[in-house]
């Protein structure tokens, strides 16, 4: 089994997670920029963070044979600082030139304030101008329905390429409007506060898996990168084939992320080898 972890905050995890991911078939991760757990004060803090995830993390992942890609953005929680957001946005295009940066993310909404919505629009606008992919965070728990609706409203008012936009953290109550609007969506698997592996497979079976990504978004909070592998196991346990699993957990990330040519991992197909003759196998012995 080959797996791509399309949303993973490696900066918050130890090397042992890379090691275990490598042992379980993960060949690549993509790391969006996110909230550090406190509100950053200076644009330089963001720039150094972007440098860490675009320059250092690929070397750490490579020690385990894992390709590492990243995204840059001001996350929704820090978008309330409009001066900081503007300054960081002005420096983001420099990172679009980096060999492993895929686009703008994770932008999105938290409490769906005006500043957050303005920042989301500015991020998406920047991405479209620079032909970058977009990864959008939708709020958690009670804020999710309203926040997802606001995301769709903001996007509907812009000239965007919907194929290049991924709305993440969808759940049962938000998946249909996002898919119907033509965007890619993501299921994020957390032990308690977000979707579970079983519920993710339920949604895959209900909606099919066109334009769907599954991730564990493991970060510094209670999270587990191996919820993704749990989901693979649940999917297979319900009778889906190896090729179907690869389509969901490897090829779909290739299809979405591969729209940026820097992500050069190709979708794969499982094919049986030609049957060997008995005499040929006898020679080898």
């Amino acid at each position: 089994m080959q797996i791509i972890q399309p949303h993973y905050h490696a900066i918050a995890r130890t090397a042992q997670d890379y090691e275990r991911m490598a042992m379980s078939g993960v060949v690549a991760v993509a790391e969006p920029a996110f909230w550090a757990g406190f509100d950053r004060k200076y644009p330089e803090t963001f720039i150094d963070y972007f440098r860490q995830i675009s320059e250092f993390e690929p070397t750490r992942a490579a020690q385990y044979g894992i390709r590492h890609f990243s995204w840059v953005a001001v996350n929704p929680k820090e978008a309330e600082n409009t001066t900081l957001t503007r300054e960081v946005l002005s420096q983001m295009p420099e990172f679009f030139q980096k060999p492993t940066v895929l686009g703008v993310g994770e932008t999105g909404l938290h409490k769906s304030t005006k500043n957050e919505c303005d920042a989301l629009e500015a991020h998406v606008d920047l991405a479209m101008k620079h032909q970058q992919l977009v990864l959008i965070h939708t709020p958690h728990l009670a804020d999710k329905v309203h926040g997802t609706k606001r995301v769709l409203e903001v996007l509907a008012g812009m000239n965007v390429d919907r194929d290049r936009i991924w709305i993440d953290h969808v759940e049962e109550q938000t998946i249909r409007p996002c898919l119907d609007a033509g965007y890619w969506v993501g299921f994020t698997l957390y032990p308690i506060t977000k979707c579970s592996p079983k519920r993710a497979v339920d949604m895959l079976e209900k909606y099919g898996w066109d334009r769907i990504l599954v991730n564990s978004s493991a970060d510094w909070g209670p999270s587990d990168p191996f919820t993704l592998q749990e989901c693979v196991l649940e999917f297979r346990r319900r009778g889906h084939s190896l090729q179907e699993s690869i389509d969901v957990f490897h090829n779909n990330p290739c299809r979405f992320l591969g729209q940026n040519p820097k992500f050069d991992i190709q979708p794969i197909r499982v094919e049986p080898c030609a049957r060997e003759s008995a005499s040929r196998s006898a020679v080898r012995k």
Binding site: P191, I192, T193, S196, K198
Partner: protein
């Protein structure tokens, strides 16, 4: 030991998670039943002939929701599940 409000706060998200898993289990069962009924060309209510395990889960949920349930809910559910 925790106060009542600390208990409510500490275990709320975990309990929410478990209830969502139960809801998903019931949805999954209904989806599978509907598929089987459609496949068999059966126009009758897919809810007839429900698996006894599901019936037991529904009884368990009803007993939890009953305001008269008292404070021995876990013990009561264990006794209920032992009837299967």
């Amino acid at each position: 030991m925790l106060t009542a409000s600390q208990v409510a706060e500490t275990y709320f998200l975990e309990s929410r998670y478990m209830l969502l898993e139960i809801a998903a289990y019931l949805d999954r069962y209904d989806a599978a039943s509907i598929r089987e009924h459609s496949h068999n060309g059966n126009s009758s209510d897919h809810r007839k002939g429900e698996d006894p395990k599901l019936t037991l889960i529904r009884k368990a949920l009803a007993s939890l929701a009953d305001p008269a349930a008292g404070i021995e809910r876990t013990s009561a559910l264990l006794k209920l599940f032992a009837t299967l």
